[in-house]
């Protein structure tokens, strides 16, 4: 029994760590390509926060470098939302609004976790992600309530990402076990708050919430979209080709 409890905790750390790692890698793709220099720096800052969080979480789950660079697609446990392509700037903002709002609500509750590492981790990360959430909300409002073209792009970005939201609130056996042991918050407890918060941002942005679509699930079990393999190919190429490289 004790063994199983430890495994659930490690699995939970992997899920959170992979979310941060993959979203950080995705945002990092903007570096040097953002619409303006200031936005380039903004997105790179978000990247660094997330990669730092991934380093802590994967380090608590095992050897962070080994986990990040030497696992295959099916072993990654991130949610499908974070691996979605950047698309245009609006789609990136839509993805970040939907993820960081969820992540912030989770971290606020994780500061009360029964697990000491997660408590301390959440206390640090919750400030970083509060900024992510605010920045994504601000941009959502400016794009949604901007020009016809920016509103159109923002609506399309949200429409792309919307079907990946239900996965954030899915509770499987592993998550239920960590909830029961007080390690993890139950995401269903803040689903309504989440929906209300997103609806308020969209109202400010003069955008309609997309119609609910057939949810796409499976990331937590390693069933990923084709996009993740491409992310890993870029991210893992160097350490896999030159395993002993140092720099």
């Amino acid at each position: 029994m004790a063994r199983a409890a430890v495994d659930h905790r490690a699995e939970y750390l992997l899920r959170l760590g992979d979310d941060a790692l993959i979203l950080g890698q995705r945002l990092g793709e903007w570096c040097g390509h953002a619409p303006v220099l200031e936005v380039d720096l903004s997105l790179a800052n978000l990247t660094l926060d997330l990669v730092g969080e991934a380093t802590l979480l994967l380090g608590a789950a095992g050897d962070a470098d080994q986990l990040a660079f030497h696992r295959d697609v099916l072993d990654f446990k991130n949610c499908l939302l974070v691996e979605q392509p950047n698309g245009d700037f609006a789609q990136t903002i839509a993805r970040h609004l939907l993820y960081s709002t969820w992540q912030h609500m989770l971290l606020q509750r994780l500061t009360q976790s029964s697990d000491q590492f997660l408590r301390e981790f959440a206390t640090k990360a919750v400030k970083e992600i509060a900024y992510h959430r605010e920045l994504a909300s601000e941009w959502t409002v400016r794009l949604g309530d901007g020009t016809d073209e920016s509103a159109q792009r923002m609506a399309e970005g949200l429409d792309w990402c919307w079907r990946f939201v239900p996965e954030l609130f899915e509770v499987d056996d592993t998550l239920q076990a960590t909830i029961d042991s007080g390690i993890a918050p139950d995401p269903r407890q803040f689903e309504e708050e989440y929906r209300t918060t997103i609806a308020a941002v969209l109202a400010d942005a003069k955008l309609e919430a997309p119609a609910d679509q057939r949810p796409i699930l499976g990331g937590r079990r390693g069933h990923h979209s084709e996009h993740l393999g491409h992310i890993l190919a870029v991210m893992q190429f160097l350490p896999r080709t030159y395993p002993d490289a140092t720099w």
Binding site: P35, E38, V39, L41
Partner: protein, 94 residues
């Protein structure tokens, strides 16, 4: 795109008790995002505890052509420098 965005001057207070100091400028569509851009551009390495942004067009600047009459008269007034006093070592930030 950035050519459409106004320019904002950025001032950073490096720690409590010190004055805000001009550090540079950012482009941003409005004041709120100017603050965020200033934060992301100029305080990434713990440079500050407080930020000001001011629309660059609101800055009233002296004319370089007037530098002679504005600043040269001060050059010959050495007695205006507080160099005739001993400042105790314990006094900082003067």
């Amino acid at each position: 795109m950035s050519s459409d965005w106004p320019l904002w001057e950025v001032f950073v207070r490096s720690k409590g008790g010190l004055a805000h100091r001009h550090v540079g400028s950012v482009h941003a569509p409005d004041a709120e995002l100017a603050l965020r851009h200033a934060r992301d551009t100029y305080t990434r390495r713990m440079e500050g505890v407080s930020l000001w942004v001011v629309p660059s067009v609101e800055i009233v600047a002296s004319d370089p052509d007037d530098a002679g009459e504005l600043f040269e008269p001060a050059e010959s007034k050495i007695y205006r420098h507080p160099t005739f006093y001993d400042i105790p070592d314990e006094v900082k930030h003067i």
